[in-house]
């Protein structure tokens, strides 16, 4: 089952490599990985999507917690949560295609953030599934480049992941 793990990590050199190393060393897979400092610059927040049965996820969570640099780990998928993935996508946009692409962007509530004579760069955020459907909806349009942030997640309501 797909899981979203949220990790609070000391913002120390080498800390991220320990997490990534743990996954390769123990044969767990990482589907997406998103990391950046938080409002407290001594801490990084990491969101990771992975796949595994309950037993595997339990081991992954325990192993992550065991890393000295890891402050906290939660499995967001255990409760109500919000997930967002940000995509920048560059497509070939010529003649009548331009209007068609614009319509599609509007439907998905995206934004054209850069316009060239023959290309559009579109920004879109949402769940990973929504971004996938957008690419599908583009149909015959030539996709030149895709860059995605990977999932960032947070729990709904009062639950907070902090120190």
């Amino acid at each position: 089952m797909r899981r979203i793990l949220s990790i609070l990590l000391e913002n120390e050199p080498g800390a991220l490599s320990r997490i990534v190393g743990l996954f390769s060393q123990r044969g767990y897979n990482i589907e997406t990985l998103n990391v950046a400092p938080t409002d407290d610059i001594s801490l990084s927040r990491l969101t990771m999507t992975t796949d595994g049965d309950d037993k595997e996820i339990e081991q992954i969570t325990k192993q992550l917690n065991k890393l000295v640099d890891v402050v906290k780990v939660v499995d967001l998928t255990e409760g109500a949560h919000i997930e967002r993935d940000l995509m920048l996508i560059k497509v070939r946009a010529l003649g009548p295609d331009r209007a068609e692409i614009n319509r599609c962007v509007e439907i998905f509530r995206g934004q054209v953030v850069d316009v060239g004579p023959s290309v559009y760069t579109i920004m879109l955020s949402g769940t990973a599934a929504k971004l996938d459907s957008f690419i599908e909806a583009l149909g015959d349009t030539t996709v030149l480049e895709v860059v995605r942030s990977g999932v960032a997640g947070i729990s709904r309501g009062e639950r907070v992941l902090s120190l």
Binding site: P13, G14, S17, G21, E58, V68, D69, V70, V71
Partner: protein, 581 residues
């Protein structure tokens, strides 16, 4: 406040930490540190002959004393040579602090001379690591390293120190912190009271209980508590290879080691049990045999300080995360409390029947109730261990390498105290035995220290005979010379129809007696059983000499019992070359 250079701060911090020995080897990037040690440190430094030996010697010192060992090596090859020893310590949860030199900060990443990414290369085999960026950070980082290495589930910590931050010209205010707190590191201090209550209830309701204890009991200094619990309940106890000595080997409640080469009675008791109390043991594959056939009727209580050890391979029915010492103390109190409510617990009749079955197993196939090996040509390896046990009155520090000799030592030397049996279980590192014996002997100069080894293993760190000459470290090397990589040969006999692919060395073995003498030590060659006991006594009578006993043993002997794999349970064993369960 005192002003010290980075190099001086390293030297001083080690003193302030109470370090008793530094095991190391110099080189370019640690020369400032060595100079500072030379000028002002009172800590004895042991110059080994290979950095691997420095890590094993520090490790042996630690296993014998419980105190964190310290290693100092240079960058590049010095650091990489230390890797095997760090991995060995990691697998057996041994606290160690490894200081490695690094090239100057501005050269890092440029493939500079003797540069290697030590933090990267050691990452999967350390508990934690640091690359120190500023001299001012050295004292606190060193304090953190010792704290992390020795608390919770212990393990090795690497501190990588670029040369420029140790230079003598720049001085900084020195203050060594009394303690450190890390917000992201809080190992468990106590087990959950509710879980402990449930566990004791289950334990007292058992009809066929067994206590399966491991290295965690030794690491957590809880042998006495374990013994008290077992003797209060009169339950049988078996130890893992790493746990030997955690429960007194000569006590009748002790069933011997369990696992792949474990005692018949220990493996049978596990397989037939209804409740297993696992204490500081991690259900290693060398213990469990096939997981899907593991102890089918047993409910499992598992005490471990590391949550990742629990339900990793075998699911626990009642997990208890906490240090063995505090959990066992709480359990003993619970046992008293619950027995006050019901004095009839545990069921005495059931326990008596259980013990009858165990005694039956012990009588029929136990290694200590009758000789289970056939007298072959010359000396049997088991007889050497029996002779060693006799000569040292069962009270020596025994280290070992890896192979058949290791298993014979584990089976036939009855360890009555913790920290007397020192071997590499998790990584299984040939070359561990001799340097680790040096570390133990340095810690306990008046004790008998024997390294039980094989002619294969001893050659992996034989150069340390020179270190023993320099520092006068009179260990006894008991070389069970069977002329083969015996454990490999045993598998080739059993699985490859006796095709000995690279498990023998033709006639290339050195003359070990002359080799020992060349280093200034005493060498002895023993070929006849009749000479064995006298030679053993003679060797141990030479208190201040390193004696290399090259003992020719029967090359065809196998280690039994041996689990039948794949798809076997703990009860499926070969008992001899022809007999199986």
């Amino acid at each position: 406040m005192e002003m010290l250079s980075g190099g001086q701060m390293v030297a001083r911090a080690l003193e302030d930490e109470g370090v008793e020995f530094i095991f190391g080897y110099p080189g370019g990037s640690v020369l400032h540190i060595y100079d500072a040690l030379f000028n002002e440190s009172k800590i004895p430094h042991i110059l080994v002959r290979h950095e691997q030996a420095a890590t094993h010697a520090a490790d042996g010192y630690t296993r014998a004393t419980g105190k964190t060992g310290v290693v100092l090596v240079t960058s590049g090859p010095g650091a990489t040579n230390a890797i095997t020893g760090i991995a060995t310590a990691y697998m057996d949860s041994i606290p160690m602090v490894v200081l490695s030199g690094q090239v100057q900060s501005h050269l890092i990443g440029e493939d500079a001379f003797q540069e290697t990414d030590m933090v990267g290369i050691s990452r999967p085999i350390v508990k934690h690591s640091f690359l120190v960026k500023k001299a001012e950070d050295l004292p606190r980082t060193i304090k953190k390293a010792f704290h992390i290495a020795a608390t919770g589930r212990p393990g090795p910590v690497v501190i990588d120190i670029p040369k420029d931050i140790t230079k003598p010209e720049e001085k900084f205010e020195y203050h060594y912190p009394e303690s450190v707190k890390l917000r992201s590191y809080n190992p468990s201090q106590r087990g959950h009271a509710g879980q402990i209550k449930k566990a004791v209830k289950l334990l007292l309701s058992a009809k066929r209980p067994v206590i399966y204890s491991g290295g965690g009991v030794i690491l957590g200094n809880a042998s006495e508590l374990l013994t008290e619990l077992a003797q209060t309940l009169k339950y049988p106890v078996t130890n893992t290879l790493m746990g030997l000595g955690a429960y007194p080997g000569s006590d009748p409640q002790f069933l011997g080691m369990l696992g792949m080469h474990g005692f018949y009675e220990a493996n049978m008791a596990m397989h037939e049990s209804d409740v297993i109390l696992a204490v500081g043991a991690r259900f290693d594959d060398r213990v469990t045999n096939s997981l899907d056939r593991f102890c089918p009727g047993a409910k499992i209580i598992h005490i471990d300080i590391d949550p990742t050890s629990i339900s990793k391979t075998v699911p626990a029915d009642i997990p208890i995360v906490g240090p063995v010492a505090s959990v066992l103390t709480d359990m003993l109190n619970q046992v008293r409390a619950q027995r006050e409510q019901d004095a009839a617990l545990p069921d005495a009749d059931a326990l008596a029947t259980w013990w009858q079955r165990i005694e039956g197993w012990r009588e029929s196939h136990g290694l200590w109730t009758a000789p289970r090996y056939q007298q072959g040509d010359g000396i049997m390896p088991q007889q050497v261990i029996e002779s060693l046990y006799r000569a040292t009155a069962g009270d020596a520090f025994v280290t070992s390498d890896v192979g058949q000799h290791q298993m014979f030592a584990a089976q036939y030397y009855r360890f009555n105290k913790p920290r007397r049996w020192i071997n590499s279980g998790g990584l299984g590192t040939m070359g561990f035995g001799f340097p680790s014996a040096m570390g133990a002997k340095l810690a306990f100069p008046d004790a008998d220290v024997a390294c039980v080894t094989g002619e294969g293993s001893i050659q992996m760190n034989i150069q340390e005979m020179s270190t023993c000459t320099q520092y006068e470290i009179p260990v006894k090397i008991i070389n069970l010379n069977n002329g083969y990589l015996g454990m490999v040969k045993q598998w080739q006999d059993m699985q490859y129809e006796g095709r000995y692919a690279e498990s023998t060395y033709a006639d290339s073995l050195p003359n070990f007696v002359k080799l020992a003498e060349a280093y200034g030590h005493v060498g002895m060659k023993i070929e006849k059983l009749a000479d064995l006991d006298a030679a053993m006594d003679e060797a141990f009578a030479m208190k201040d000499r390193l004696v290399f006993m090259d003992i020719l043993v029967d090359p065809s002997e196998h280690v039994y019992p041996m689990h039948i794999a794949p798809n076997g349970s703990m009860a499926d064993m070969w008992l001899s070359k022809t007999e199986r369960t």
